[in-house]
Structures are given as structure tokens and as C-alpha cells.
Amino acid sequence: MITIQAIALEDAAPGMILADALQDETGQMLLPKGSELTESVLRSLGRRGIETLSILIPEAVDESALIARREAARQRLQHLFRQAVDPTSQGLLRVMLEYREEHPQ
């Protein structure tokens, strides 16, 4: 998941990626969409009076949150099937556990 965020020039750092093409107030293209910011680019944008930038923010993948969510889904399914202990129902439970791994709720 990637989100787009508008940030002030002073908060921009080298390595960030532009979400949109950047133009000055006369409409002249300064940088195309997808450009990576560098120290020198940031200095030159400051000189040209740019105040805000729209950049791409990749969402951090939080491994531990992911594991916790899977564990919660597994426990919920085992709770739901607590009375359905016959072999056919337990076969379905195994399928539902796989399904929830692939399709979190």
C-alpha cells in the first residue's frame, strides 16, 4: 500500500519520491512525476520558491501486527468451531484457517 501525502519543503528528505509533476508558479515543469529527491534538488526547489511537495509514502509493513492479526483470526475460528468436532467439520475448519490466511477479514 502506498499513500500520497503533501509535505512542507523543509520536511522533505533525500530519497523521497514525487507523487506528481512539480511546476513553478509560471507553469514551467521543474521535475517530472516519480523523481527522486536529492540534496541538490531540494536546495534548488527552495531557491525557486516551492513550499510544498506531494510525495509517495510506502506504508511500513508491520510484521508483528500481521502475525497478531493472523493469530486472532485463528483463535476466532477455533472458537466458532468449538462444538463442531466431527471429522467433516474439522476438515472445514482446516480449510477456513487456510482461507483466512489468504483473505484476512
Binding site: L80, R82, G91, Q105
Partner: protein
Amino acid sequence: MKPLQTAQVIAAVHHLPSLPAVVVELLESVDREDVNAEALADKIALDQALAARALKVANSPFYGLQSKVATIQDATVILGLRQVRSLVTAAAVTGAFSFSSASWFDPRRFWQHCVGVALCARALAAEVGLSEDGAFTAGLLHDIGRLVLVTCFPEEYRQVALYRKKHDCYPLTAERDILGLDHATVGKALAERWRFAPAIQEAVALHHAPDEVTGDSLAGIVHVADVMAHALDLCPRDDELVPALSSVAWNRLGITWPRFKELLVEVEDQFEDVCAALNI
């Protein structure tokens, strides 16, 4: 608590308001092919409240129509008679039971589960080549007996709910232990009274006993659909229980597990849109 007598329940069923005549006709003809679409559409259109509710469903995002349909006749042409039949039935039956007064009973949750089962039943029926429309309606109505019990015997049914909580048992067990009969028996009485098509009557009566039916029965489909909807946890509650899956009913369908998982995706995708369309 004194067990309920079957005669008492039948008398209560007879005191329930009757369904609009056109809905009775729809439920009677659900598994018949020889229905005159135009005549039926004209009859639905005569019941203005029902027609308005059905058109709202037809124009909901679920059907994704390019332009809005303004009349039932148009809806029949664009969506087809089968679709209109099941959406009018859904609009009618979810509206018909708005008179339940027990404060602890949540009719929205009840209908949401029924819609979940209806969608599962339709997906399963499509796989095995049974009537999708009939399966949808049977799924929607499968627990109708529970609604009769809550409506006509609210105090008795509250005892069922308390017993179920205390013993963490299936609602069916709690009903039998407290009332001496269950929602399938009561549903059967209502299904006969309201003259549902025989296949729907059977599904209402036997969705908890699918081993008793033979061959391509909607009762078997609805049984598996009920288990499927509970396993998907579509209406989560703390004391939720997945019913035991009958190996007979499951094996009869002959659906593989990988294909079954694809059906789960399909149902999860549709569920919220259909509930929103039916305003439940």
C-alpha cells in the same frame, strides 16, 4: 417452563398477518418455469409499497445497472424474471416481519444472517446446477420459524436465549430442551400456511436434518450454506457457533475445497452490498 404444544404454535401462525397476495404467488411458483413474466410484473406493480422497495433494491449498486429502472416491468426486462422474483421476495419477507416487539431480539442481525445464507445457497446451487433463485429464497427463509417463535412467544424464547447462553449449546438444542420443539418444526408450519413452493418448505423443515432428504434437495444446499455463513462469521457475536457440517450433504454436492474457497470470496464480496440494498 411448560413446553409449547404444536397446536398452540399452529394457532399462533394462523394469527400472523398474511403476506401480500403477489408474494404468496411468488413463493408458490419459485421452482416453476412456466410463469408469465409480464402478468407477474403487473401484479407486483399493483402493490405500490412492495414495488417501490423492490425498485430500490434493483437500483442499488449490487446490480450495477447503467441507468435506473423506473418500473417493475422494466426491471423484469433488464434483470430477468428470476432476479426480479428473488429480489421482490427478499424485499417482501424482510419487510413482512417488522412487527416483532421483543427488545432483546435484533431483527437486522437475524436478516443479515439469512441474507448470508441466501448468498451462500445461491453460490452452491450455481455450482451443482440447481435453481439459484430457489436456493436464494430458501436460504433467506430457512430460519423463519425462529422469527415466529420470537414474535408469538417472546417470553418463552427469551428463556431459550438464556439457556443457550448458560449451556453454550446450539440454539436448536436450547429450543428443544426449553420449548419441546424447534424452529424447523415451526418454520414448516408457517411454510405450509404461507404456501411456499414444496422445495422451499422442505428446506425450511429439514435444513438441520439434511441426511433425511435424497438427491438434489434445497434442504442439503441450505444446510451447507448455513454452516458456510456461520464459518464466514458474517454477523459476529461472542457466543457464535458453527453448526456441524453433515458429511452426507457435503459429499453430495461434490464441490472441491479449492473451489469452495472461491465461493467464499464471492459471498464475502456481495454480502455488504446486498444487506445495504435491502436496508438491513
